[in-house]
């Protein structure tokens, strides 16, 4: 059963009409091929129109679409095999972040990815995609392993954020994330990060340091969830749409702010409408960036990674505006 987002309803209505038309044509044995063609074109147009004008909040909903391809789906598409490596060797095997050896084309790589699960049972097993400290510590173990054997790291992220629970705090989730940030700047192998769906704050950043940070067209990456921001500002989570607007969390905003390097275009109607096409585009983009990164001299990689993040921030110094990007509204052209 297809999951329909509220703003996708006009598309579904037209699709139902199309079905009716087809049924009619079959039962009455009347040729309506012209009408069917017109209807198909109309569906395409409507979908195009809706998806070219998604509001930030609608994009958040697309990013959370339950039929959207998840990181594991991309890995299955890109890699002919995946040898999952379990556990942080300290406490447990988190299911919200997994990792292991795989291929990208013919190249051996280390995959780090988040998991949400597709049904209630797997949702629960994966903690709805919210990693605990052991997830970040496992990721670090595997990234260090990759560095030892000079394997590039590909990190695919779709998480609402790190798990805010008693156990998370008892095992120091903040420290686990901080250490990952710290260590990621010392891993002498190329790292490509892709935000495929939700980029939930520090929970995403904990496996989100890379030489390239890519984001899918309808994905989002935010310092706080729109609902959380709305609860703070309007004391009401129902204002999430306004919060999503204010936070500048869309792929397009983030490109302008210089936070991400490239937006991966999604097929018409979003990745969930044409998953196969979406997966192929992600694979192509990662491969292109990875081959670029491999041209960078070994001793240049870490300094470049450092300066990529070093220049982030916008502020005044002696009254002069400094920063990776200009204020969005004043100068939308100045990217980075």
């Amino acid at each position: 059963m297809a999951f329909v987002l509220p703003f996708e309803k006009p598309i579904v209505d037209l699709e139902n009409k199309l079905q009716e038309l087809r049924r009619f044509s079959e039962t009455q044995n009347i040729d309506v091929s012209l009408e069917i063609e017109r209807m198909q074109e109309k569906i395409r147009q409507t979908r195009k129109e809706i998806y070219s004008r998604l509001s930030p909040w609608q994009k958040v909903q697309v990013a959370r679409h339950p039929q959207r391809p998840y990181p594991q789906d991309y890995v299955d598409h890109m890699s002919r095999t995946f040898y999952e490596l379990h556990g942080d060797r300290l406490y447990a095997d988190d299911r919200a972040i997994i990792g292991g050896f795989g291929y990208l084309g013919d190249e051996k790589v280390m995959y780090i990815l988040t998991q949400k699960g597709r049904d209630t049972k797997s949702n629960l097993a994966c903690n709805f995609g919210c990693p605990c400290p052991e997830g970040y510590r496992k990721a670090l173990r595997l990234m260090k392993l990759a560095a030892r054997f000079r394997l590039p790291i590909i990190s695919l992220i779709d998480t609402p954020g790190a798990y805010p629970g008693v156990e998370s705090e008892e095992r120091h989730i903040a420290e686990a994330i901080a250490v990952n940030l710290f260590e990621a700047f010392q891993l002498p192998v190329p790292i490509v990060v892709v935000i495929t769906g939700e980029g939930g704050s520090g929970g995403a950043l904990g496996i989100g340091i890379g030489d390239r940070v890519l984001i899918m067209e309808h994905a989002y990456y935010s310092v706080i969830s729109p609902e959380g921001c709305a609860a703070i500002l309007w004391k009401d989570r129902a204002h999430a749409d306004r919060a999503a607007e204010a936070l500048k969390l869309t792929a397009q905003d983030l490109r302008e702010l210089g936070i991400v390097d490239e937006i991966i275009p999604e097929p018409l109607g979003g990745a969930h409408a044409q998953p196969q096409e979406a997966k192929e585009r992600v694979r192509e983009c990662i491969q292109r960036h990875l081959s670029d990164l491999k041209k960078i001299a070994f001793d240049e990689l870490l300094p470049q990674r450092y300066s990529r993040f070093r220049r982030m921030g916008v502020f005044y110094e002696k009254g002069r505006l400094i920063g990776a990007s200009a204020p969005l509204r004043e100068d939308p052209q100045r990217g980075r």
């Binding site: 120091h172 935010s222 310092v223 983030l254 450092y306 110094e317």
Partner: protein, 290 residues
Amino acid sequence: MRLFRRRRSTPTRPRKRDIPRGLWTKCPSCSELIFRRELENSLNVCPKCGHHFQLSREKRIELLTEPGSFREWDADLESADPLKFTGTVSYESKLKASISKTGFREAITGGEAVIGSHRVGFAVMDFSFLGASMGSVVGEKVTRLFERATGRRWPVVIVCASGGARMYEGMLSLMQMAKTSAAIAKHRAAGLAYIPILTHPTTAGVMASFATLGDVIIAEPGALIGFAGPRVIRETTQQELPEGFQRSEFLLKHGLLDMIVPRSEIKPTVIALLDFMRPAGTVPSEGRDA
């Protein structure tokens, strides 16, 4: 499930009665009425039960560094409003209000100082400035502090307090976590020591970056320290929070902190720790130069 970072109106924010005001202050811990001057004389620590009230930046600098040794860096850095953030109140007006309330341009004051015989990079965060949240300026100042300290081969000491990332700067604020952590990595690779001092409250994005990346992590007694705020955790998980949850003593027991040090003993402790963590190849007197 979706609440991670909160800044305002959080339980991490001190209740009004925590802030000394008027002639008398009621201690939130033991309910004793304390004469304000007595509280000031005791470094804002309750003379009866030892509860640590918050302490101003000036007092922190005075408490921890040698008289007259502190020289501020990057005082002319000011926050911009890169997102043109529109909420109930504009970010710009919030900044203005905080500047006039505190008399400072941002939530952190940093620079060079001498502690005992050690020349250090030193900074103090101030919760009364927008919850000491980390935006571009806080991130930039911390990063420059570590970069300069690395160049001069100095250790770094930071008195931390924060409600987390500064929501009004969106993803630019989240990126400060990466930026500061990267600078600390260089500092440590140069063989230099870093001591964060966690004060009430230190949470969220600052905890998940420079506050937990110390060689030795000190906390004041009773400070709220954690990633997610207690209310978020309660609401998300419907769990009862354990006794003393996310307090310094809880974190010592659970292995995050190296030590809890009462305010009056922090300076001698930091001096002693720095004595043990001198960069290789330096002689003990070198700290006195310059």
